[in-house]
Chain length 416, copies 2
């Protein structure tokens, strides 16, 4: 069984000029990946005859199935349909069923149909008409020399419906699909190269049919294991046993798998143990609270947050002592310690987290340059603190601090 | 003057498998469009030698400048650097300046550098090393037979910094670019079709060489005027006189121009009048505070925020009366009114803003379905409130509410 290869072609000037973001190709990729079809290339071309025909002929050489979105509107700048007719050398003819469908579509909305719209029911004679129940441009299916082609509108919900109703169910009928299993290990608090160093022996000993990818993002690195084979169950078992081997090396950094985020992982920890959390955010300015409250159901473990953006309020509302503030400053271990304890008390929570730092771009000093940030986690009878030395970029500092605070909590929680 | 053509190549299996959405190509498209460079194709290929080399050679035939993102990590699955060396037929050698930069990058973060990371300072001998101040993988610039190439990391903020600091300033030195003037009017609180109705006579009377685009985003509509011509000064004058004509029709909805955001516009209002602001965020969970504190210098007018995620804290910390909470509920005009007054008092600010609602997806009732949200703005001697009826989507509700709260403040501020 050979790998089934797909290409995605998105058509439209608006995609090249940055007026519309092509979310379609991403979604199609995800769907094909789930059923074991390998996307080998994505191409975006404009409303230009030669570019589109070139994309068609190159794709045909590489792929078993080609998925095309866009360029199907009723106006003259939409070229996909005439160019598919040209490419497959067949005339555009009336498909009575398609004309009927587009007429009904307008009637049902109480709108008069125009001659331009009626022409949307005229299609290349060599295509299979695929009804589009949620729009006016039909899908078109072609098959030639063992390659399959599907043309779909660029409107995301129309494309998705055609994919779900027609293309995805058709794939197992056309191809013997391989089995692909992905498993993603989510890590935090360690850089890509350190992680690579830690696990290089394990990585080098992975069997040929299991691939590892490092996917870094802000403060996180995801390890994606992808297994190719015949049996889903066997692959899952194999991947799980590989994870069992690598875990002892990296477990301090692992907070979850696959769709888990640091926020959902922390939510689970709190919920399971029936504990609650509150936040005192100075330099992070409410961002951590936003991350936590973006999770549905967070009110079960989240008590609330305070953003005391001046020393006065750190003192008056949180109870940080004036002496601490004047002696050590707002950006100090002593202050974040008292903030964490104070917020825990104010919100009667089991844990209190705090941040205070110089997010930038101004406000740095020689002793405390921009990017100097202190964070703390207070529980019953303990406080842990950490100093971060981050970047010159304000937003980046806020985001990296949020990850560090949530990770500090994860570590504190597991220790106590 | 001929059109300058660009191609964008994104590299990485994770983009083909749909695990990461390629937002880079979209952003690059937008930036190139602004300076009059025409993107003719975008291609995404995986971590595969032949596919990458094929994308390089095809792009070279079509484009004047080729922008490449991704595939630059320190690990073995990242192929961009060795393949660029292969394509340009030059060896990878140590660039002492690049090794120095990556070493400093690690030192500044107090972390030990690994041999893998040191290798990030080794580059194809024929490239120009472009320092990456916010990451470890340098940019690489190539020039061959009149075509220019830039390779950048896939991490969005690193790519953006290299584009802004190096590529975009370089374009006018390399190419004769057309004169394009953009001016964006930022509106809030009115939908696209209402706006279009308001200004349709003005729009129809625009001269041929000035184009109007509606760019809707969450709660906002941007009106982008683009002028094409020979003289920047003339175009700017023409566009300004067109804006002068349309403004009387839309001024209630306009909060700024170009890079202005609702947050920066509000900051300016407060700073100019020496007034201060505080927030009581229930359903928005700290998101508005995050938006405001993302602006450098916001401490001049922002006092702080409270996220009282349970009624108990709305009462205890903010002073919302128990009677109000039990009689009208947390999601009510009466509660947000008392929250806005309470937060103004707690933080001794000139204005207090509040939000309380059912963000969803659960927690709705027949009387108060998901998406029911109350917001308020309190100033000296007045409180204005507003009810929103939004969507079923939690994050969307949070974001739309934030825009509505900031807009309510803008309106209150201008009236009092």
């Amino acid at each position: 069984m050979s790998t089934v290869k797909a290409e995605i072609i998105a058509i439209g000037d608006e995609l090249l000029y940055g007026q519309i973001m092509d979310t379609n190709s991403h979604w199609i990729s995800q769907q094909l990946d789930l059923v074991g079809v390998r996307v080998v290339r994505k191409t975006t071309v404009g409303d230009n005859r030669l570019d589109i025909l070139d994309a068609f002929s190159k794709a045909e050489k590489r792929a078993d199935i080609i998925l095309i979105t866009g360029g199907l509107g009723p106006t003259q700048d939409d070229l996909t349909k005439p160019l598919m007719a040209e490419y497959f050398e067949c005339p555009i003819v009336e498909f009575p069923e398609a004309v009927e469908a587009v007429t009904t579509f307008f009637k049902r909305r109480g709108r008069e149909i125009t001659p331009l719209n009626i022409l949307q029911g005229h299609l290349p004679a060599c295509c299979t008409y695929v009804p589009n129940e949620v729009g006016t441009a039909p899908g078109m299916w072609f098959s030639k020399n063992g390659t399959y082609w599907m043309s779909m509108p660029g409107v995301p919900h129309e494309m998705k419906k055609l994919m779900k109703d027609f293309v995805l169910p058709k794939l197992p009928q056309l191809f013997e699909l391989p089995v692909i299993v992905h498993e993603v290990i989510k890590t935090v608090g360690i850089g890509e190269s350190w992680l690579a160093d830690l696990i290089k022996d394990w990585e080098n000993a992975l069997p040929e049919h299991i691939k590892l990818a490092y996917l870094p993002s802000l403060g996180h690195v995801k390890l994606r294991l992808t297994g190719f084979g015949q049996s889903k169950e066997n692959l899952q078992e194999e991947i799980q046993s590989q994870i069992a081997i690598v875990m002892p090396l990296i477990q301090d950094y692992v907070y979850g798998y696959n769709e888990e985020t640091l926020e959902t992982a922390i939510g689970k920890l709190l919920k399971k143990s029936n504990k609650t959390l509150a936040l005192a955010e100075s330099c992070t300015g409410g961002f951590i609270s936003h991350l936590i409250t973006s999770i549905a159901g967070s009110s079960a473990y989240f008590q609330g947050a305070l953003v005391p953006y001046h020393n006065q309020f750190k003192h008056e509302i949180l109870g940080v002592s004036d002496v601490t503030l004047s002696e050590f400053g707002a950006v100090s271990e002593e202050t974040v310690r008292e903030m964490a304890v104070g917020i825990k008390k104010l919100f009667k929570s089991d844990f209190g987290l705090s941040s205070s730092g110089i997010a930038g771009p101004d406000g740095g000093t020689e002793a405390k340059p921009v990017g100097t940030i202190w964070i703390a986690c207070a529980g019953d009878g303990f406080v842990e603190t950490k100093k971060l030395q981050l970047t010159q970029d304000r937003l980046l500092n806020i985001e990296l601090t949020a990850v560090a605070v949530l990770n500090l909590f994860r570590i504190c929680f597991s220790r106590k």
